[in-house]
């Protein structure tokens, strides 16, 4: 059984705990053991990252060093976290001076970054560590008559030469899993565009318009739901549909994280996946299992 150190990031445990619960239960069902990383810190994405590259490397470097001390690879389930950890790993592995600087700070608590732990995003676990065949054979209650749109998340797939998750221009992992679960994966205009989430801090209005543009493009394809692989994207694509700027008089499109969608097809109980907590009730999707 493969084992990973789960780094939840700051946002998921508070804003989308059902995502965390569904990651744990679905991966366990598919033969992956997770150990929650304790005593971790924020990866430093976006904010610290913008003010000091070295401080950012120290913060993400410490998270990876913690996984090294557990002798495990890291599983990150947030796009911002996985992007940060992977970028910093790349920087530390290729810049001995920077690595020595970070290690000086880590040494005070007996930690050391050596580069032995890999960082993986959830989508990689599905493709590389579980595999499509194993997922297919674990499906006991396939969906039918369901049209779903995949949203990958910018920092999950870009920059491809560093994150190495999927084809950045034509990502397919979520689409493949949608199809394996018996539903139809639907393409739409601007599939690899951002959800707008990173813009919330500087201009909430622009952030909302970007998210709603995505919703509009997806709605044109007449889909039943949107499948995500990052809690920021999931929350943003949900929240924009409640905004005053959102199109009125139309039904909201349920947005659900990939493991929460996959769970019922694997025979996992809805409540264990925290489906009752979803802001837009996904019953239109789940009754087709």
């Amino acid at each position: 059984m493969k084992e990973f150190a789960l780094y939840t990031g700051c946002t998921t445990p508070v804003r989308l705990p059902a995502y965390e619960a569904s990651v744990k239960i679905v991966l366990e069902k598919l033969g992956i053991r997770l150990t929650l990383m304790k005593d971790a810190n924020c990866c430093g994405a976006q904010y610290v990252e913008s003010l000091s590259h070295t401080a950012f490397c120290a913060m993400s470097g410490r998270v990876i060093a913690l996984a090294e001390s557990m002798n495990l690879d890291v599983l990150a389930i947030c796009g911002a976290c996985s992007g940060s950890l992977k970028t910093v790993k790349h920087d530390l592995d290729n810049n001995p001076k920077l690595c020595a600087e970070v290690n000086e700070l880590l040494a005070e608590e007996g930690l050391k970054y050596t580069g032995t732990s890999e960082v993986k995003h959830l989508l990689q676990i599905f493709r590389e560590d579980i595999g499509y065949e194993a997922i297919k054979s674990a499906i006991v209650k396939p969906y039918s008559g369901l049209r779903l749109a995949a949203h990958y998340g910018c920092h999950v797939t870009r920059p491809p030469e560093i994150v190495k998750v999927d084809d950045a221009e034509n990502p397919t992992i979520i689409d493949r899993i949608i199809e394996l679960a018996g539903a139809t994966a639907v393409d739409y205009t601007g599939k690899t565009r951002c959800c707008g989430g990173p813009m919330l801090a500087m201009d909430a209005d622009v952030a909302t318009r970007i998210g709603l543009d995505k919703i509009k493009n997806i709605r044109e394809e007449d889909v039943d739901g949107i499948i995500t692989a990052c809690e920021f994207c999931d929350i943003q694509l949900t929240q924009v549909q409640f905004d005053d700027l959102a199109e009125q008089g139309v039904s909201k499109i349920p947005v659900i994280p990939l493991p929460q969608f996959l769970g019922p097809a694997l025979g996992i109980n809805f409540d264990k996946l925290g489906i009752y907590l979803n802001k837009i009730d996904p019953k239109t999707i789940l009754q087709k299992v």
Partner: protein, 174 residues
């Protein structure tokens, strides 16, 4: 004109008003700025630019190349990039715009030009060790309990204080 002569002609043939582009080039992440040929592919693919006329990535790179140091560092422009990297995916010259704008932000930060929202968020993270300590209510704790998840989130707040002291107190030195 021979092939060689064409090659030697610089892409940008004006004289900048300052060495700002060279300064950015020296900063971590800013190395690729001189590769920009000002084609505008970045602005064409930018979702922020499509929603507001406040921000045009090509124009911002151009301002840097032209040497408009004060104008760039004191404006919000470098902070309006979402770092979604869609433009980088499409740039034929491999200009890493989000890295360049990070480098510019770092220079701006050293000189005290930090948008309030960035400063307050960094202050919070470097105090608590993570982003959402204040948002973690009893109500959410109950949700976690119902889902069988740990309610003690166990974040470390000591390391970030060392990071703050070393790199980000009184501006940032590195």
């Amino acid at each position: 004109m021979t092939k060689n002569e064409v090659k030697e002609k610089p892409a940008v043939s004006h004289t900048p008003s300052s060495d700002f582009a060279k300064e950015v080039e020296q900063e971590y992440g800013g190395e690729g700025i001189m590769k920009c040929i000002q084609c505008g592919m970045c602005t064409a693919s930018c979702m922020v630019a499509s929603m507001t006329d406040r921000y045009r990535p090509r124009q911002l790179i151009q301002k840097i190349l032209l040497g408009k140091r004060e104008e760039v560092l004191t404006s919000d422009l470098p902070w309006l990039c979402m770092t979604c990297r869609l433009c980088e995916e499409r740039c034929q010259e491999d200009v890493n715009l989000s890295e360049i704008f990070h480098a510019v932000r770092e220079i701006a930060a050293r000189e005290g030009h930090i948008p309030k929202v960035f400063q307050s968020t960094v202050d919070q993270v470097l105090e608590d060790g993570w982003l959402l300590k204040d948002a973690y209510s009893d109500f959410i704790e109950e949700d976690r309990e119902d889902l069988g998840l740990d309610t003690d989130l166990n974040w470390n707040d000591e390391f970030v204080k060392k990071v703050k002291k070393r790199y980000l107190s009184g501006g940032n030195k590195k």
